[in-house]
Every structure is written in C-alpha cells, then in structure tokens.
Symmetry: C2
Subunit: 563 residues, 2 copies
C-alpha cells in the first residue's frame, strides 16, 4: 500500500475529509534531514518547499514556480497532481473549498500560530483538527550543542541576552519563547552538526527576564539548562501569572495548546531575527574573509574544470568542487546542496543532480553552478554560469542581460529603510526590456555561519517589506531559464553600508569569483557596466591570486583581464 493510500485509510477511520502535509517540522522554515522529509516520504518530492493535501479521491502537491519542473519529474502524476501554486495552507483551503471539504486534519506543530489564526478565521465554515504527524518523520539523531567563540560571533552570549532582558523589561513581560532555531543559535552563540548544510541548533529557548535561558528540543546534548518536549509542555502549563512573548509567525500553533490561559501569550516579532540581520564588525570581517577563501576554492575548481570537463558528469563536478572547498581553512560544510545543472538541467531552477538525472558535461552548452560554504567565520552562496565549448548567440545575449540585471541591483543606491520588495524590479528591468523574466525572488538574506536563507530582509516582489539598514547581507541572483535548453544565473552576495549620500545606502560585493567573459557581448554593455565588470575582476584577481598556484594564477589573470 502506498503512503498516500495509507493516509486515505486513516482519513476514513478518523472520519476526516482531508489531511494536510507540511514540508517542515516544529522548526518552521528550517532545513530538514531526508529522514524528516514528509513530502518525500509521501510522494518522492525532495524540494525544500511545498505542501500536500490528500482527500479520499484526490491528492495535490503545491509548489512554487522554481520547483514545478522538479516536482513533476520526481512524483507520479497518476498518484498526486503537482500544482504551480504558492505552497500555503490558504491555497490548500481554497482548493478544498471547491470540493466542499469540511473536516481537515493537520499537524499543529508544523504551522505557525499566525497562519492557523488566519486560516481558521477565513475558512470559518471548515473544521480543522490537529491530528499530529501521520508520516512519522520525527528528529532521531542526538544534537550535540557546541559553543561558538567570540572571535567569530563578535558579541558574547551575556551581551545578547541582556538585550532580550531589556526588551522584556520595556514590554513588562516575563519570558520570550524563541522558537526559531537560527534565532536561538545566534542568541546563545551555539551551533550543531546534525544538519548537513546549516549549523543551527534545532531547539527552542525560553528566555526569562532574570537572564536565565532554558533550551527545549529533541535529544539535546548540552551543558546548558535543557529539557525535552514533555518538560516543555509542563513548563508552559505551569507558568503561573506571567506574560510570555512569542513570534506568532515562527512559533507553531501547538504551543497555544500547552498554555491554559491564552491571555498570557503576547505576540511580538522575534527580535533576534532583526538583530542578527545587522552583522557586527567581527561577523562582517568573517564574511569578507570567508568569501576570499570560498572564491579561491571555486576559482581553483573553475580552472580545473576548463581542462577536465570532458567525460565528467554533474555529480563529478559537485564532488570536485567539494574537495576544493574542503581544503579551505574554517570550512564546515556546504551551505546548501550544490546545484550543478548542465544544459537543460540548468533550466530547473532548484535542480540538484542525482544518479537518476546526472548529465555528462559536453561541449557547446552551459553549466549553471550554484553552491556555497559554511565556514566558522561566515556563510557563502554564489552562482556562476560557465560555457563548455562554444556558446550560441542566444546564450551570449541572455547571459549578458542577466549580468546587466545583476549589475543594476548591485550598483543601486537607495534611502535607508527601502524594502527589498521595492528594489526587486531594478534587477528585472533589463530582462523585461527583452521580454524575459524569472520565476523566483532576486535575493535573500544570508546569515553569518547560519542559514544561507535568513529573514527578515529579502529582495522579492512578494517578499518582505522590512527595510534595509547598514551591514545587512543579501544575495543578488537574477536568471533566465530556457526550458529544455539551458539556465543562466549570476549570483553574488552583497552587504549594505552607508553611501556617500546622506540617508542613502549602497551595496558592496562579498563574492570573489570570475564571471565568464566568453558569455558577455561587450557591445550590449553600457560603459558603466563594463567598468563595473573590469573593476570587479581586478578586485577578484587581487584577492585570490596570492592563494593560487602558478598555473591557476595565469588562468585567473586571463579570465580577470579587462573586457
């Protein structure tokens, strides 16, 4: 019996019309291990965002544009229908409403309090039943909590906790419950190794106004005061006459079930999310330093690739790139699974090569390579698109337009407090002028040795309206995808600083990796764009050359020479 059939059986026995399967677990929005991937267990989909719903006769998987192709490739269309719809509970309910569905089962650990409040208010004629996780995808590994030194964090745990204490005092509250793993990790300067690509410690933290912080999670190995989920629910139940603050947008609805009197709960945005987005001087130095090491690794790889791609595959490239990164100081792991999409695989926006899809690298098409590293001093994320053999005119035109899109954002000055929602169009404009666009955001926030995607900032038309301040790190990654042909994306990480104009910010470039000049039509560039590229390459050469061998240095000099 397939997993979907098993769920249908359970629907019947529980007298429900539908069961909703979220992608994540109680650490909403964080990475998960394959063993925790409920959608994969359900239908084979391995992407990092989605939501599914099973009814007696139907099954739907909702994914956004970047995962549409991949979801169709990975799932059985006879069993589950893939829909290009933002993977939101709301969109599931709209679907269910058309069937007249009434009784909907879901797992209250996997949906935020804010989302469920909205859902229950909006779909007041439907009934929602918290029936837990029917796919049995819990966290099983032990989580060893490690300490991150001041030389990397730049601010002590005591200093950070003091900010929380002040906030609690200001708000006349007693506790803040941090439910976001990246917030807790940043607050306490801790990290762990159970996730392959993110060092965050998957735990909640209950911070008291006296400065005590208590961790709650699965199988925590730590000297810090901690407990398991039973301890957690007991603690919440016994809170007494106190005020407990939490962020309804990243805390699961479930926590409300543990608190007898809901008036004790006060909604307030998770202050750590905002604080950690503004990198301190030590973090910024770490980010700059690790981007040089990461640039050395990726550039060495690109030099190697140029001579060795014949007979190699996408997976070979991923393995080789990993080797180069592993040799770098402070390397901890990849910051996400490397995307190495050759030719038409590059058009699948969040493609990751597998044994099943692995392509041999051949002449006359493009390799889209999106990868990044976690280093003890920072996190990287970089995309380069490389031509193997000879590019077509269309490839050169598209690559040049994507570069222009990239530069348009990278060179922007904008008033302090401008949101990424507004900036998004700057990168799209050069593509729109030519009838092109991309079905993903232009950029996302990046942590310093944490999640490669972090809030509250992003650069996306439908994204966050949180305004930029100084020292925020964000990606700039426009692209063009030609289905069944190739994909192009050029991504650097940027950080904001005050511009020379009072009240304005500008971007500075972190990423140091050559951009493939063989794919640039010089005559399409404005003089300012050409100057940008030449200056960038000069800087890349200066930063990386000292770490290259003679052969690599010659290669680097050539690929970084002026257009």
């Amino acid at each position: 019996m397939s997993v979907i059939e098993e769920i249908r059986k359970k629907l019947k026995s529980e007298n429900l019309d539908a069961y909703v399967v979220a992608h994540g677990n109680r650490y909403i929005g964080q990475d998960i291990l394959p063993s925790e991937h409920k959608l994969q267990k359900l239908c084979g989909f391995t992407g990092s965002a989605g939501i599914a719903v099973i009814t007696e006769n139907t099954a739907y998987l909702l994914v956004d544009g970047r995962y549409e192709l991949q979801a169709r490739q990975e799932t059985d269309s006879q069993e589950i229908e893939v829909m290009d719809l933002l993977p939101r509970f709301k969109n599931v309910c709209d679907l269910l409403k058309t069937f007249g569905t009434v009784n909907v089962g879901y797992d209250a650990w996997c949906h935020s309090a804010a989302e469920m409040e909205f859902i229950k208010r909006r779909y007041f004629d439907m009934k929602f039943h918290d029936v837990g996780d029917w796919l049995d995808c819990g966290l099983n590994n032990q989580i060893e909590v490690m300490e991150r030194g001041l030389e990397f964090s730049g601010q002590s745990r005591a200093q950070k906790v003091a900010v929380i204490q002040n906030m609690l005092k200001d708000q006349q509250a007693d506790y803040y419950l941090f439910t976001s793993a990246d917030s807790v990790s940043w607050l306490l300067n801790i990290y762990a190794g159970d996730l392959p690509c993110s060092p965050v410690v998957r735990t909640y933290a209950l911070a008291a106004k006296n400065g005590e912080v208590f961790l709650y999670g699965d199988n925590l190995k730590t000297d810090l005061p901690s407990g398991n989920w039973e301890d957690f629910s007991e603690r919440l139940a016994k809170l007494g006459e106190v005020k407990l603050m939490y962020d309804a947008h990243n805390a699961p609805e479930k926590i409300k079930a543990f608190v007898e009197d809901e008036t004790k709960l006060i909604k307030a945005p998770d202050i750590c999310q905002m604080l950690k987005a503004e990198k301190n001087e030590v973090e910024l130095k770490g980010m700059i330093d690790c981007h040089i090491r990461d640039g050395v690794a990726l550039s060495k790889f690109l030099c190697w690739l140029e001579e060795n791609y014949h007979g190699k595959t996408e997976l070979d490239a991923v393995a080789e790139l990993h080797k180069f990164r592993s040799e770098q100081k402070y390397f901890w792991g990849e910051s996400f699974n490397t995307i190495a999409g050759f030719a038409e695989n590059g058009a699948v926006v969040h493609y990751q090569p597998s044994e099943k899809t692995n392509k041999e690298l051949k002449d006359d098409s493009l390799l889209l390579l999106d990868s990044g590293g976690q280093y003890l001093d920072g996190t990287t994320d970089v995309t380069r698109t490389i031509v193997l053999g000879k590019p077509s005119k269309e490839m050169i035109r598209d690559f040049t337009l994507v570069l222009q899109a990239h530069i348009a954002l990278a060179t922007a000055h904008f008033p302090v407090g401008t949101s990424g929602m507004k900036l998004d169009i700057l990168a799209r404009r050069p593509l729109w002028q030519n009838g092109l666009d991309y079905k993903h955001g232009t950029g996302h926030g990046v942590a310093c040795f944490g999640n490669v995607h972090e809030g509250p900032i992003s650069i996306s038309a439908n994204g966050s309206d949180y305004g930029f301040k100084s020292n925020m790190v964000v990606s700039d990654e426009p692209g063009v995808y030609k289905e069944n042909e190739y994909g192009i994306r050029t991504e650097n990480l940027l950080y904001t600083t005050e511009s020379e104009h009072r009240g304005f910010l500008k971007f500075n470039i972190l990423t140091k990796v050559p951009i493939d000049k063989r794919l640039i039509d010089k005559y399409m560039l404005q003089s300012g764009e050409q100057m940008w590229l030449n200056n960038y390459h000069q800087d890349v050469y200066n930063c990386l050359a000292p770490y290259m061998n003679e052969k690599e240095k010659m290669w680097l000099k050539d690929v970084c020479s002026p257009l």
Copy 2:
C-alpha cells in the same frame, strides 16, 4: 472671533473633545470650489489635500510632503500647527490618542464608509459623533447636466449601463449606488461646468438592474430622472427587500445611516473606475489629438516666453498660456490651476502663484510650469522646466538627472498586471544614485475629459497595487526640489499598449512639447537616452510644425534639433 475659536465654542456646547475637518465634501476625492473649501475657511490653507483637527487647546493641519511648505506659508502658526503627516483620519486619531481624547465630532458625509469602519474598529476606545459640517461649506450653484456625444465618448450610455446590469445580474443584486462623480459622468456620458477644472457632474447615480438610472445631487438641472438629498435618503430608507451594492472606499459613511437594514448593503469595487481607466479607441484617439493641440498651445507660449519674459510675472505667464490654450479647438478649460513657479517658488511642489506670492521672471533661474487642459476629446497634464537666462552647473546636472528619471520610466517594458507601486522606483533610481529624491508619487492616472487625477492606477511607492492593462493613461513626472533655490519637474502623459514581447506592456508618449535642451548635459546621457530625446523631439516637431507660424516654426526647429 476666528473660525477656529468658533469651533472651540461649539465643542464646548456639544460636549466634544475634538472636531475633525476633512478637505472634501460628499463627493470624496473630487475637486471642490473655493466656497466649498472647509480648510481654507478654517485656516487659510488652499491646497487640494489635508485634514485638520481642533481641540480645546490645540489645532493641527495634516498635509503630505508636497503641501508642507505651502501650508506653512498660508496658515498662522500661532493658530494652527502644520504637520507633515499623510492627511488621514487615522493619523488624526493617533494624535488625539496621545492627548487622551475620547469624544470626536466629524461629518459622516465627508469620510468613506471603509475609512470609518477601520477607524471605529481600531480606535474602539474613542467615540465618534457625526455632527455634520460646522463650516457650512455646501454646494450652492446650479449644476447644468450636459450630454457628451458618441464622437467623444466612443460608447453609448446604453452600452455602458448594460455592463452594469450584467454585473448586477451576476452578483444577484438589485442596485449599484455610484457615489463617485467621475464614475457617474463616465457611465452616463454627461458633463457639467460648475467646477473650473473638471467637467464631472457632481451627483450620485442609483443604477437598477432593469437599466434605470436615477441621479441624486444638489441643484441638478437635467432631463434625466433626478432628485435631491431628501429624495435620496427617502429612497434608501424605502428600498424594501433588495440588495444594494456600493463602493465603501468612495461612498460616504453617511449612506449607511439611511438604510434601515445594513445587510442590504453589499460592498463591491466601483466597476466604472476600472472600466474607464481602459480608454476605448475613440477616447485614445481624442487623447492623442488633444495632446497635439495642447502641445501647439504650450509650444507657442514657450516661443513667446523666450522673447517676452523680461518684466513679466508668474501670473502674467499663467494668463498668457491660458490665451494660447483658449485658441485651441474643443478647449473647455484648464485641467487644474496652472503651477508657474519661478526660482524658489518652483521648489514648492504644488505651488500656484497668487497676488501675494507672485514673482517677477528674471534671468538665471528656472521656471517650473505644470499645466493642462480639458478638451472635449481629452485631458492633458504637462510639466516643463525652462531656464531663463543662463543656468548654473547644478541646475543642468539636476535637470539631466530628472530627465534620466523620466526616460527610465517612459521606456520601461513590464509584464501585464504589474502595478505602479512596483514601477515607481524605476524613475527614482537615477536620482537615488546621486542622493536625490522627490516627496511625491511618480505618476497618476488621467481621465479622458474628466479628472486629471483618476484611479485606480497610479505610480507611487505607497499607491495603488492595481495592475496595468492596455490603453491606460498615466503621468510620468519625477522632479528635484531645492528649497529656496528652484524646482525641476519633467512630465509627459503616457499610455500603455502591448509591447512586442508577449505578455508585456510598454508606454507610448501622448505629450508633445519640447524639453529644454539648454538644461541637458549631453555627456551625462547614455546613448539610448540621447536617442530617446532626439526621437522625441523629431516627433514633437513633426506633430506641431503644421500648426505654427513661420517664426514659431523656426524656433521649434531649433529647440527640437538633435542633441
């Protein structure tokens, strides 16, 4: 006793803590006559947007950035404090809340149902009392309703009303109450002459599903079925078992008081607002034609000005420009009061010269001229900034940047459905790069022989998220304002059509008036920008030359010659 003191007396006798004075009347968002200008009567402020509040000890006038300077000039700071705050009831309440105000008087005719619902929900601890208009600023003139022929409207009344009937049928409703004067005027192909700058007929229309339409307003002279406000309230009271649709965003809260059973009222966006934004072929032809005539008038004026400005004033310029426009076929009146701001007066964004502020035109500064005409076949709105004498380097730099900002928007291609909220930044970017910005939106919708500002589209960071379709008319008017020095703005009207790229729109230029080349630094322009300007001037010359005398033609040839 001043008006403000009289209001304070009334506050006492009515046992209220505050009285709110809106700018408009029951035709929310429409132009008003000076005799109807409550804020002017209250404190002298003549701008077209604002809200005031009077308490026992304080008085505030809230205006947005574009009116800040003007409001300070026009009011007595001892009597009323001007605040640069968006003129919203909400912002008034936030102010009042800091004083602990409880009982607030207002006029339910002057605030939309949607706004008051929001206010009463949000400020549930305050009490709001509909006490009517304490400034006694009603509509007094007779309104003669005239018919607009098919040769201008392009669509008969019957055709338009049929669309409303279908909508009512679809929604299983009986009536739509149109409370927006521009909607009613468009729907019934009528116009009037009581407002100096807008031909809209200030009346409500109750459209029934059988196709009958009944007008309600002040002193209407018309053959169409009509009544006064007493008839209106009686009709609403006696509606019986029907469903009445209305737009809560442009209908006053007052109408709810006339309907016994509020469940009869159904909120639905005013469909005329959306329909009339998409110009039909006849309207578009009218807009194109009248822009040539308007361009002829303004260009003749500019030619005249160049030889005659010495010894003349801003008001002389306004009068002379009016003469040139009046000579044009189908001219009906100005579409708004001409802004002729010389030197530092140009920095007052919505400045209109008066006897008090009138400046003599002299050498070596800039004249900002924002004006427009109503023609039976269309509406224009154009801003040109002209140098008299010799410009400074800073003027040339600023003017060129504003031109680049203007071109950046005018040349944009964008997916169908993109909102002006997103496009706004395209015009700001060239200014932001140099630390400049402007405190107003980039563009507004424009009617065809109707309001020079019309919804639902606009191009503004905080504006409408209504998406662009084909055949919509919008202004493109970035600027730079240097307080106590000069103002620069360059404005053309544009209309959307499908671009050569499937699914994308582009703008086309309606306005035909030379842009002052003496203020352009050619070396700051990209080649594409220079080409845009030269093509534009070529087109302007071709369109206008046939209507110019020999002398004017020579002048035009010179000012339109390639850069």
